[in-house]
């Protein structure tokens, strides 16, 4: 019997879902829509009406605020329209898509002893009468996403829920030995392997030598292991680079055998060698996350990942599983780190993009933004991990390919920082079950997006179930402390194939695929092997510890299953019952990929002067910059994240008298019984990349580090991460722009002894579509390098925030203002192109950072804010309105690279020169502060006032409350 339980808001209780739909419909130009909504459950089982009534009232509905309608599916009583509604629409998750609420309901029903086989949730909507085309717009753009949901217009018309059919083994071979090059590439594309010709040829030669055809699962395993996503073959590959070298961009050339190894990794290696016994790096670029020392007992780990392509198709699920995935990285690092905090950085097209200007296959950027934020919110908050730092950048070029970077910091006992699977350890999978979701995620993320991506790769889109992962975290940490396993890794992209393949690389592995627990029947052995179903970890467990591990997992309802053994064969062998379905040598799998030499070229844009600025009063320009999307307040997003769970919050993302000023960095205490803190910040500026990616990268590193220093972090203990999101790196110019950025990463890291400890790249971030006339267009994202920084602070009581503290205090600018308006927000809001991109003076910056740290650590600084987008004027305005005070600044005092700049308001006010701070210092401490900054460009430039006005010479005289309004308005979506 299939029962339907509809749950409606009781009379007098507002229907908020309906109100939100009406607003969104209005945005799409559909006015006067009336909507009523309900949600509900389909319950399949041999149960009686009275039992269904009981579970509706006792479990599923809240009798204070809700009412229920219960009947067998199809009964007219379920489909009675409210007075204004005539058009009934149901939205259900597609079969096989994760439905966490249904899962929980099923478990709770078992607790009530009701014989229920299956539960599915749904939403239902009654809309006032409207034309078919508008109905389609509303269902497609507001009510459902057909990547994961099905829409049924009218009453539900089925009488049972599909739960999968039994699978009958049919071993598949793929004929590849006789194929010509064109056919090999067709197989690569149509089989969603996304391998290149040389790689397909290598595989072909391997099987020719073997004298047999590959099985489908062997081919899939090779494609996944050799995918860009898993092997980073482009950046870790051979590159022949010709073009700009060094900060000044002299032309030259370099050959790389492994580009990443010779730039970013090399910097860390040099720094560690120089630090010798003071080396505080523990494990870099080898485990799932980078590890550095924290205190006498603990290390800390940090990893940032991207989840761009899934988020483009299904923003909620993409971001949801993005954050879920990156949490498993620290958990799978060493013997398992406890998650401490999350970071999130997003890149979107402007939310005000007109709906009728969207290319086909693209979701509206506002919908993407809201979906991504909700996805991070629902997963991060449920995990009990505070989301403490982030940023959002807007550029039209992110329209078809938004970026979603998710990061996680964890803490790990020093003696649990290394793992070692041993021969004959059992392979154990714990956590979520394997389903048909997430098939081809690893290879898909390496392909470019097109307007057809959704139909082709819908299976790569998933919804997460945070509670399953939370249960896994709880159990893993307990098992770690009891020493129940030798190694652990996460099941991420590539699923079991990647996790087992990597863990067993130096040993060999034998897996019994029929043993893997599945969500439903009918999965083929290949689907089981490559499914990227979420919330799973793989452990290497000594046979003697299995009973203890099994009992521990059972005690908290976490599923754990032995699926095989790390047999010392040097081979990857997969079986389904008695049938061998794959047999590959580990060395071919991991080292067989042919090395391809890629060409890379780069020429920075030739310098062009910035045209004369428009005749606008600087007051108005300041207001425009404050209200520009990158600078504007992100409070609407931040408030939806729990940024204080775990109790370690010291510096919140929003600070100041009204808890709404923009903090430079977050500070958390990972141990409640200690005063030692972690500082988390980031830096990114895609706009500079249009001029020169070297200086873009240098500026991003400067920004991340100075954000940490601004709140009190010790610059000698900042570790950084790189995340490159780029376009199609098969294009020599695109790859060249990345190589140039990587060379800057090397220079900065070595120049400051700031090691890179982990990183990740995501290439092919392009979107291709056909317009109405059949013409193909490609939008490539701007070069987008995110630098994430993990700083440390001895005593969190030394931290400073950016809000002004008291009238009468003195203001100092630290660092030099130069004529660097290229790629600036001044240029952006003024519609100007040209100017010099901000550069970094390594030696000067290093001195400034060290001196600032000494001054803050000595308690000489009351407030400090870094100068970034919008320069001095924006920093001063933010400090003023965050503190509820004003300021008077004398431009003549500002330290400048050349004296004549003092007469150029746009430079003094808005230049984005790096390595600068604005500091508030008490009069009584001014002399000590100045002493501390000896040898560093630093000048007293003004004073905090008790009037809510910001005055900068004759140029700016503005009410700070109005400036704040301009800053708060653009991204408040309520």
């Amino acid at each position: 019997m299939l029962w339907e339980i509809d749950i409606h808001a009781r009379e007098g209780i507002p229907d908020r879902v309906a109100a939100a739909i009406v607003t969104e419909a209005n945005d799409l130009g559909i006015t006067n829509l009336k909507v009523s909504t309900a949600h509900g459950y389909l319950i399949q089982g041999r149960i009686e009406r009275a039992q269904v009534d009981r579970l509706a009232n006792e479990l599923l509905a809240d009798q204070v605020v809700q009412r229920t309608v219960v009947a067998p599916v199809g009964d007219a009583v379920l489909n009675q329209a409210p007075p204004h509604g005539s058009c009934l629409v149901h939205v259900l998750p597609k079969p096989g898509v994760m439905d966490p609420v249904a899962q929980s309901a099923l478990a709770a029903l078992a607790d009530l002893d009701l014989p229920v086989d299956e539960v599915r949730t749904f939403h239902k909507f009654w809309l006032s009468p409207l034309p078919a085309d508008q109905l389609q717009v509303i269902t497609g753009k507001i009510l459902a996403n057909d990547a994961i949901e099905q829409v049924i217009v009218g009453p539900l018309d089925f009488d049972h829920l599909e739960i999968g059919a039994p699978y009958r083994l049919e071993l598949q071979h793929v004929a590849i030995r006789q194929l010509d090059d064109a056919a090999l590439m067709r197989l690569s594309r149509e089989g969603q392997l996304y391998l290149q010709l040389a790689e397909m040829q290598t595989i072909q030669a391997f099987y020719n030598q073997l004298g047999r055809e590959p099985t489908d699962v062997e081919l899939e395993t090779l494609a996944q292991t050799w995918s860009e996503h898993c092997s980073h073959k482009t950046l870790a590959g051979r590159i022949d680079y010709r073009g700009a070298i060094g900060p000044q961009g002299e032309s030259g050339q370099r050959q790389f055998d492994n580009m990443l190894k010779e730039t970013i990794f090399a910097a860390t290696t040099e720094i560690r060698a120089r630090l010798a016994d003071q080396d505080w790096c523990v494990s870099v670029f080898e485990d799932n996350a980078g590890i550095v020392r924290f205190d006498n007992e603990n290390n800390v780990v940090f990893k940032v990942e991207t989840h761009n392509h899934p988020s483009a198709l299904e923003p909620y699920g993409g971001a949801n599983t993005g954050i879920g995935g990156v949490i498993r990285d620290p958990l799978g690092t060493g013997l398992g780190a406890k998650p401490v905090c999350n970071t999130d950085v997003f890149c979107f097209a402007p939310p005000e993009t007109p709906a009728d200007q969207l290319p086909p296959g693209v979701l509206h950027p506002r919908r993407v933004l809201k979906g991504v934020v909700a996805g991070v919110r629902d997963y991060g908050n449920r995990m009990g991990i505070p989301t403490v730092n982030g940023a959002i950048y807007f550029d039209r070029r992110y329209l078809g390919n938004p970026l979603v970077y998710c990061g996680n910091v964890g803490i790990l006992p020093r003696d649990k920082s290394h793992k070692q699977p041993l021969p004959d350890d059992w392979i154990v999978v714990i956590g979520g079950r394997t389903g048909r979701d997430g098939i081809h995620g690893a290879t898909f993320s390496s392909a470019e997006l097109t307007d057809q991506s959704e139909t082709l790769s819908g299976g790569a889109v998933q919804i997460g179930n945070a509670i399953t992962e939370k249960m896994v975290v709880d159990i893993v940490l307990a098992a770690r402390d009891q020493g129940l396993y030798n190694a652990i890794t996460d099941c991420g992209a590539g699923g079991l194939s990647s996790a087992v393949g990597e863990m067993g690389e130096r040993i060999g592995a034998e897996v019994q695929l029929d043993q893997v627990p599945t969500k439903y029947d009918g999965l083929s052995y290949t689907e089981i092997w490559i499914s990227e179903a979420q919330e799973r970890m793989v452990l290497a467990v000594p046979a003697g510890r299995w009973d203890a591990l099994a009992a521990l997992c059972a005690s908290e309802n976490v599923e754990a299953t032995v699926i095989g053994k790390f047999s010392p064969t040097g081979r990857l062998q997969l079986k389904y019952h008695d049938q061998q379905v794959a047999d590959l040598p580990m060395d071919f799998l991991h080292d067989g990929r042919p090395k391809v030499v890629r060409q890379a070229t780069y020429t920075p844009r030739p310098p062009a002067p910035l045209p004369p600025p428009p005749r606008q009063r600087p007051d108005d320009t300041l207001r425009d910059i404050l209200g520009s999307l990158n600078v504007a307040s992100k409070e609407w997003v931040i408030r939806q994240y729990d940024h204080e769970v775990q109790g370690g919050s010291v510096m919140k993302p929003l600070v100041g008298i009204d808890n709404d000023g923009p903090s430079d960095a977050a500070v958390v205490r990972p141990r409640l019984d200690s005063r030692q803190g972690l500082v988390i910040a980031c830096g990114m500026n895609p706009h500079y990349g249009d001029l020169d990616t070297y200086h873009m990268a240098a500026s991003a590193i400067d920004e991340a580090v100075r954000n940490c220093v601004a709140v009190g972090a010790d610059p000698a203990r900042i570790a950084i991460l790189d995340n490159f999101c780029w376009g199609d790196c098969e294009q020599p110019e695109t790859l060249g722009s990345l190589v140039r950025a990587a060379m800057a990463c090397y220079d900065l890291a070595v120049g400051w002894d700031t090691p890179f400890i982990s990183g990740k790249d995501s290439l092919n971030n392009e979107f291709t579509f056909e317009d109405e006339s059949g013409q193909r267009h490609t939008i490539s994202i701007p070069p987008s390098l995110l630098i994430s920084a993990l700083g440390q602070i001895r005593d969190v009581a030394r931290c400073v925030s950016m809000d002004f503290k008291a009238p009468g205090n003195l203001l100092y600018q630290v660092g030099i203002t130069k004529d660097e308006l290229g790629g600036s927000h001044f240029a952006l809001v003024s519609g100007l192109d040209g100017g010099s991109v901000p550069q970094v003076d390594l030696a000067q910056a290093r001195r400034s950072f060290a001196a600032m740290h000494r001054a803050i650590d000595s308690g000489l600084v009351r407030a400090c804010h870094d100068l970034s987008e919008g320069g001095l004027a924006v920093a001063a305005a933010e400090m003023a309105f965050a503190g509820g005070y004003g300021a008077t600044i004398q431009p003549a005092q500002i330290p400048c690279s050349t004296p004549h700049l003092a007469g150029r308001p746009e430079v003094i006010l808005f230049s984005e020169s790096n390595s600068r701070f604005l500091c508030e210092v008490e009069t009584a401490k001014a002399a000590a502060f100045e002493d501390m900054l000896t040898g560093v460009a630093c000048a007293q430039v003004g004073q905090v006032t008790d009037r809510s006005r910001l005055t900068i010479g004759d140029w700016i005289d503005a009410d700070t409350r109005q400036l704040k309004q301009a800053w708060q308005r653009p991204l408040s979506f309520d």
Binding site: V64, K470, M471, E556, Q640, G647, V655
Partner: protein, 270 residues
């Protein structure tokens, strides 16, 4: 009496258990985090403890409704034990998700007596914020009356809330009045100066002072004995001075406002 023992009840999705245990320890209690499965297997272990705390988080994902599934487990399997626990003069505290669990399990507010059935209607619930979404923000609170053991001696507090379903709604106007007259609506959202103004706050203070639209600004309620308290704000997130959002401005004292709640609970057994 020796150090009171505190059972911090943990379920799948509970996530404030560590810091809540730490807060009880700082207050002088001896806290243990115990999984719901252990309590269900052996309800008798409750008798080893003087204080039961259901901490914040998303028990069972808050799937179906916030706190609902854990509340049902308690109602079906532990109602008698908790009844005994309360009758023995012990203390029960529910914070955020714990408040949602206690109110939905019928531990905090007695079911409406005039509806005798197998499934009596609870007098009030916690439902979706008026804003329709999860929000983390600091709120000013004031204590009404002196009924709650946990709030003894406290007049004002500044604490964070972090929830999506914290709007207190009574079954009807009569229920609301009954609860208020019984002095059970012990904790209210207010503006920064409420106490100084002597405002009785019978009207809802505006959003975001009242962060969720709760009737009568209710942030916390106690049972008829005053020994069971549920509240949406997180006292365990304000026990250290550096947790105060304005500590860099010199605001706050040597310890956070929330610590007093834990000190009161421990002192009750001394």
């Amino acid at each position: 009496m020796p150090t009171p023992r505190v059972l911090i009840l943990r379920a799948p999705g509970t996530n404030c258990d560590v810091e809540t245990a730490y807060a009880f320890e700082q207050a002088g209690g001896q806290a243990q985090r115990v999984h719901i499965n252990r309590v269900l297997e052996q309800p008798g272990i409750l008798s080893d403890y003087q204080i039961l705390c259901v901490p914040g988080g998303f028990s069972y994902g808050d799937d179906i409704a916030a706190g609902r599934i854990l509340a049902n487990q308690i109602r079906h399997h532990l109602a008698d034990c908790l009844g005994q626990f309360r009758a023995d003069g012990k203390l029960i505290l529910g914070i955020c998700n714990g408040f949602q669990v206690l109110i939905k399990a019928g531990v905090l507010l007695d079911a409406i007596p005039d509806r005798p059935s197998e499934n009596p209607t609870p007098p009030a619930t916690l439902t979706w914020n008026d804003s329709g979404k999860f929000e983390d923000r600091w709120v000013h609170l004031k204590v009404e009356g002196d009924k709650s053991v946990f709030l003894s001696g406290i007049r004002r507090m500044y604490l964070p809330v972090a929830h999506a379903e914290g709007k207190f709604v009574a079954r009807d106007a009569q229920q609301l009045t009954t609860l208020e007259q019984a002095s059970q609506l012990v904790l209210r959202y207010c503006d920064k100066d409420a106490q100084e103004k002597g405002d009785q706050q019978n009207n809802e203070v505006p959003y975001p002072l009242n962060p969720n639209g709760s009737q009568k600004n209710v942030a916390g309620v106690c049972d008829t004995t005053g020994r069971v308290l549920g509240l949406m704000p997180h006292p365990e997130r304000h026990i250290d001075p550096t947790q105060h959002p304005h500590w860099t401005r010199g605001a706050g004292g040597p310890s956070g406002d929330g610590l007093t709640i834990f000190l009161n609970a421990v002192a009750y057994f001394r």
